[in-house]
């Protein structure tokens, strides 16, 4: 009786070995590429102010979005709200900024600027056209109540994201 039971169990195991797991792999290349066109530089028009505005001696950073498929992506660009590197600061820093379409490769992209959505320090664009779009990001920082920034190097970061819709 024991021998019969063993035979039955082994048969079940053999029939169970026919199951296979077949892997499927795939690579997806992004159809949205973000490229830094121009790195920004803070100008220091007054002791308490740092600005990327060219009239203030700064350089406005520009980022380029290359989209090969229309209406699939959103551009999320955030102007900085803190320094990533700075001397020791003892007072508050008020950040402000603005993101605008600088150049387009297709005329219909000109509507991006009117259709953009702004919240907090982030600006959102629907990339409804295929092609390249240049965005300029203005950044400004005021220290305390007209207080002079301590000497040193100040760095901040602009965040540019391409989100699939």
């Amino acid at each position: 009786m024991n021998k019969l039971m063993l035979c039955a169990i082994s048969a079940i195991f053999v029939s169970g070995a026919y199951a296979e797991e077949i892997p499927i792999t795939g690579n997806v290349e992004s159809k949205c590429v973000i490229i830094t066109d121009t790195a920004g530089i803070y100008g220091n028009p007054t002791p308490s102010n740092l600005s990327t505005d060219p009239t203030d001696g700064g350089v406005t950073p520009i980022v380029r979005y290359d989209v090969s498929m229309a209406e699939y992506y959103k551009a999320l660009i955030s102007w900085p709200d803190e320094f990533s590197q700075s001397p020791q600061l003892t007072d508050t820093v008020a950040f402000d900024g603005e993101v605008e379409v600088d150049r387009v490769s297709v005329s219909t992209m000109s509507s991006y600027e009117t259709d953009k959505i702004e919240y907090q320090n982030t600006t959102e664009y629907d990339l409804t056209e295929a092609g390249s779009t240049w965005f300029k990001i203005e950044s400004e920082a005021d220290y305390g109540f007209s207080k002079a920034f301590p000497g040193g190097t100040y760095r901040s970061l602009v965040t540019a994201e391409c989100i699939a819709q």
Partner: protein, 253 residues
Amino acid sequence: MSNVLPAYTGLQVNGVFYRYTTVKDPDTGMIVTVQNEDALNAGQYIFREQDDWSGLPGNTIQKAVLQPYVDQNRWGDGSIQIEGQGEVVDASVIYTYRYDEDCVVSPQNNPSCPGFVMPEIDIPEPTAPIDDIIQDELDRRRVAESDMEQDDIDRKKIKDEKDNGRPMIEVLLGNPNTSVLGGVSQILHDNLVLLDVVPPSYLTELPSTVYEDTITLPDAELLDNVLIRRANYSQELLHERLVDLQYQLGESK
């Protein structure tokens, strides 16, 4: 375009990059056309790109349009044309091009250069009909081959005659050597005999004698032993059986 593109031979335009800013009311219609006339075909354009700004706010556009290496002489005057209401400011058009330095020096440096002229080679015209020329050439070759064969035959004949009239060198050299060798050997032999060095038996001649056979064996019969006889008998039986077999086969038919 002669004042825009350098006057290099073989220059080809492979791209146009333009940039301009439109100033307009978003509600108005405006079409901006950047174009170049086709210098070889009047009324046509070698490059023409339109941007429709109708219903859109003004902005800066930057566009790159690749060209399939169009020859320089095709590029006519360029212009930016505006249809509708609006204004174009800060416009710039940049042409990218390529050229082969060898072609700039001389179009004859490379067959791929525009303006290359295949050099002409002077081949003299035949004075006689071509068939006559071919026949003359064949005759000339035939005569030359015949002369060569005759020369070979004559050369072989002369060689054979020379070989027949010339005595063999080994014969010529052999006779005097044999006589000289014989004389020297005779002198040496005589000296050895005088010196009594040679054993006398060497100088004694043996008599010419015939030694006949003296032993004779009587004829006798050597009988086979039992084994040999048995083997012979069995072979004889086998032979007879085989001989009889052919008749039996004939009867069965």
